[in-house]
């Protein structure tokens, strides 16, 4: 709120801070874990992919010159009880929680007609339930530390993208969840924001399989003019937004998409 910047410039903003981050085995989550640790954070890294988690933990250990570190917890965020258990474990281990980053999500392309009940529920369970119950579990600790939460939404929350109906719906939900939480906690000294990336060079984006008989005319707006973004840019924005430098940014949805949603 009116707290002043701790450090003027971008160096060791996270010394002594504990950050619980989901989806750190890959893509943006990995870069965020590396970035926060390099600025001194203790990262409580969560993912469903145990092997990927271990690899990233090794990378963090090699890179964390500023005293940062990463502890891992395998989790399926689709299970609300697991979200609560993991956050409790984080606080039991590290005594506090300053930052929650909800990065993990799933995405695939399908014709709306072909989406099964199971498909739909699974995507909501990961992208929406996982994000909400992590927030719910973390909030008492974030209130105690006067910390903040960042959810990763998507350009898909602002564009109606063909063959991505469930994904667009989940990311729209993340945007409105972020805004509603921000209003509910506006009198508390905490911050809740979201980042809406555009097409970013991660396994999720590289592994997209087009829906059968895709009509490319309908994907025109999704064909960005600029090359895919680097996940490191999302990590830099995350590290700024979760720091005291962004003390007056609350309830904001920050588009970082190389112009995709400007039109």
């Amino acid at each position: 709120m009116s707290e002043q910047s701790e450090t003027a410039f971008t160096d060791h903003r996270y010394v002594g801070k504990v950050a619980a981050v989901t989806g750190v085995a890959s893509g943006m989550g990995r870069c965020i874990a590396l970035r926060l640790a390099s600025e001194g954070a203790t990262v409580f890294g969560m993912d469903i992919n145990a092997e990927g988690l271990d690899e990233v933990a090794t990378e963090v250990a090699d890179a964390a010159a500023a005293g940062g570190a990463m502890h891992t917890r395998v989790i399926d965020i689709a299970d609300p009880a697991e979200c609560h258990a993991a956050i409790a474990e984080c606080v039991a281990q590290h005594g506090r929680l300053d930052v929650l980053g909800n990065i993990a999500a799933t995405s695939w392309m399908k014709h709306a007609i072909d989406v099964t009940t199971d498909d739909w529920r699974k995507m909501f369970a990961i992208n929406v339930d996982g994000t909400f119950f992590m927030c719910q579990a973390a909030l008492p600790h974030i209130l105690a530390s006067k910390g903040n939460i960042i959810n990763i939404a998507s350009n898909a929350a602002f564009m109606g993208s063909a063959y991505l109906v469930p994904y667009c719906a989940t990311k729209g939900a993340v945007v409105q969840m972020t805004r509603a939480l921000a209003t509910e906690f506006v009198k508390e000294p905490i911050r809740i924001n979201a980042i809406a990336p555009g097409g970013t060079d991660t396994p999720m984006n590289r592994d997209y399989q087009l829906a059968e008989n895709t009509d490319f005319k309908l994907l025109k707006r999704s064909m960005a003019f600029r090359p895919l973004d680097k996940p490191e840019h999302i990590a830099a924005l995350f590290a700024f937004l979760a720091s005291a430098e962004a003390a007056n940014i609350h309830g904001a949805i920050i588009n970082a998409d190389s112009g995709m949603t400007a039109t």
Partner: protein, 250 residues
């Protein structure tokens, strides 16, 4: 190496408030500031402060309402500093009026400073920004994103800045430059200190835009500006970044 070493920032409105704080922040991170303002005294004070702190700054008294002045100022910046990496359109004015009180003069003044000035300084700076693969940040406002009673002309200009930013971003999406806006909520500056609330204002209509959290400090807008104008924000283009303590989330 600091983030803004060897960078030239052309900034308007640096005699006061957000403009001054931004000039100080970028100068502290190594930038060479070319500052513009209509207020000669305030401009000189900012420059003296930055020089005293060991920063680099030169300035030119400029009324951004004049197209010729905008072009002359951009030219002067290039002559003095060798180019333009960053343009910050920060100068702006605000006031409260009932719709029926707004005169043609009021309307033109608000438009000329908040909108016309932003466009023509951008027009003048763009070739230089492209040459250096730099970026532009316009200061919009929460008033550009929500309907606020008793500030219709101000809301109109700031809404225009929001969409002008996006339109510029699209026109230049194939160039290696970035164009964004920051939409602050209430900030403690002389703009808010001198803001006269109408005597007969209906406070129930104003409550929606006064917010729950205390006003921001200009230094907080400056820290966002310093991130957004840096290479770290390389994928942020055509964005309107709200920094308003939750005002527009509701």
């Amino acid at each position: 190496m600091k983030r803004y070493d060897n960078k030239v920032a052309l900034l308007t409105g640096v005699a006061s408030g957000i403009g001054r704080a931004t000039a100080q922040r970028l100068a502290a991170e190594g930038a060479c500031i070319f500052g513009l303002d209509i207020d000669e005294q305030g401009l000189a004070a900012t420059e003296a402060q930055i020089l005293a702190d060991g920063g680099k700054m030169s300035s030119r008294v400029t009324d951004v309402r004049s197209v010729d002045e905008c072009h002359a100022a951009a030219q002067a910046c290039v002559e003095a500093c060798g180019g333009i990496d960053i343009l910050g359109n920060i100068a702006g004015i605000a006031n409260q009026r009932h719709v029926h009180q707004v005169t043609e003069e009021d309307w033109d003044l608000m438009n000329d400073v908040n909108l016309k000035g932003v466009f023509f300084l951008t027009q003048a700076a763009l070739p230089h920004i492209i040459e250096r693969e730099g970026n532009i940040i316009n200061i919009a406002s929460n008033a550009g994103l929500m309907g606020q009673a008793f500030t219709v002309p101000y809301c109109a200009t700031k809404g225009a800045v929001v969409n002008m930013t996006k339109a510029l971003a699209m026109e230049f999406v194939k160039h290696p430059i970035r164009i964004n806006a920051i939409a602050p909520g209430g900030v403690e500056t002389s703009l808010t200190a001198n803001f006269k609330v109408l005597e007969d204002a209906d406070y129930s209509l104003m409550a929606r835009y006064t917010g729950v959290r205390p006003s921001s400090q200009p230094e907080q807008i400056a820290s966002l500006f310093a991130f957004l104008a840096s290479d770290e924000a390389g994928n942020i283009h055509g964005s309107i970044v709200s920094a308003d303590g939750g005002l527009t989330a509701e």
